[in-house]
């Protein structure tokens, strides 16, 4: 898998490093040579380049990339031009970081496949976790389906999965249970350990404090999240 990361600010460089750590072939681009020097040991290739230069971009094989993430927000013009060039070159998947709503709107018009708003996304998550402390995570799998991670609601404590009627009543499926146990360590002290039960059977009892990982259609997950 080959991914390009264009623009190596804090977000871009962290993204490039993380992808490379996961075994993805990462090609990093920035016009600032100091940033390239900083990252070159942590990615597959790194080029000092002005990404608005069409010829230069073609010369590094952007057409063969599985995806390109444009992380330029300080210069909106450069961000848009880069995305337009990549679109013209027929790049398979273009993702771009937006710095404002207007920037995002233009990126969508240009045909960017996914517009990223890291600060806003993080702020939404934080707000969610402050407002609903029983909700740990909501992940959108597709426009239709989500995964919800939440603490067991009171009405389910002590019931076996079959009796909760989650599938029939709420249309959601338990795909995993995260459960903590008190344990005695080798030194005789009491501690806490977490175990994950993947695809629990219908006979599994749900205990107080269990974290349920649920899959379902978005509207069903939304109904269930505030139970």
């Amino acid at each position: 898998m080959i991914f390009f990361v264009i623009g190596l600010g804090r977000f871009g460089s962290t993204l490039a490093r993380s992808l490379h750590e996961k075994g993805v072939e990462v090609i990093a681009i920035d016009k600032d040579s100091a940033r390239i020097e900083e990252i070159e040991d942590f990615v597959s290739k790194a080029y000092v380049m002005d990404a608005t230069n069409e010829k230069a971009l073609s010369s590094v094989g952007v057409k063969d990339a599985d995806g390109i993430v444009v992380c330029i927000t300080s210069d909106i013009e450069a961000s848009i031009m880069t995305c337009m060039i990549l679109k013209d070159k027929g790049v398979r998947k273009i993702m771009a970081k937006a710095g404002s709503e207007l920037h995002a709107k233009i990126l969508r018009k240009v045909g960017v496949d996914r517009v990223i708003f890291p600060e806003q996304e993080m702020a939404h998550r934080l707000a969610e976790s402050i407002y609903s402390p029983h909700i740990f995570e909501v992940i959108d799998l597709s426009p239709e389906y989500s995964i919800l991670e939440r603490i067991t609601p009171k009405f389910m404590e002590g019931k076996v999965i079959r009796d909760t009627k989650l599938r029939t009543k709420y249309g959601v499926y338990i795909i995993a249970i995260k459960r903590k146990f008190p344990i005695v360590k080798e030194d005789g002290k009491t501690s806490v350990e977490e175990k994950i039960f993947i695809a629990p059977s219908a006979d599994e009892e749900i205990l107080k404090g269990d974290v349920l990982v649920l899959l379902g259609k978005k509207e069903n997950i939304d109904k269930f999240r505030d139970q």
């Binding site: 976790s129 402390p133 740990f136 995570e137 603490i151 903590k180 146990f181 008190p182 005695v184 002290k189 009491t190 501690s191 806490v192 205990l207 107080k208 404090g209 974290v211």
Partner: protein, 87 residues
């Protein structure tokens, strides 16, 4: 009374390890009525709340222990873990 408290702590631990949290909590609270500074009972009550994901209650209990014994290593470790967990 000391013997009685030790017996109660043993009972509470058995209930805690067999995941009977409701009964374990009752006994630990009973011990703390008899001896509000009992660090063993406080620590296990903290562990109980942590296990059932009641982090705020666990933190409150651990802070009580650290007020009495600021160098309590296990409690400091538990506090550290709580801070690192997502809420």
């Amino acid at each position: 009374m000391k013997e009685n408290i030790e017996e109660l702590i043993d009972q509470a631990k058995i209930l805690l390890f067999s995941q009977n949290y409701k009964e374990a909590e009752k006994i630990l609270k009973k011990i703390l009525k008899l001896d509000k500074d009992n660090v063993d009972a406080l620590y296990h009550l903290g562990i109980l709340y942590e296990t059932v994901n009641e982090h705020e209650k666990a933190e409150e209990i651990y802070l009580k222990i650290l007020e009495k014994d600021p160098d309590n290593k296990e409690t400091k470790e538990r506090m550290e873990r709580l801070k690192n967990e997502k809420f």
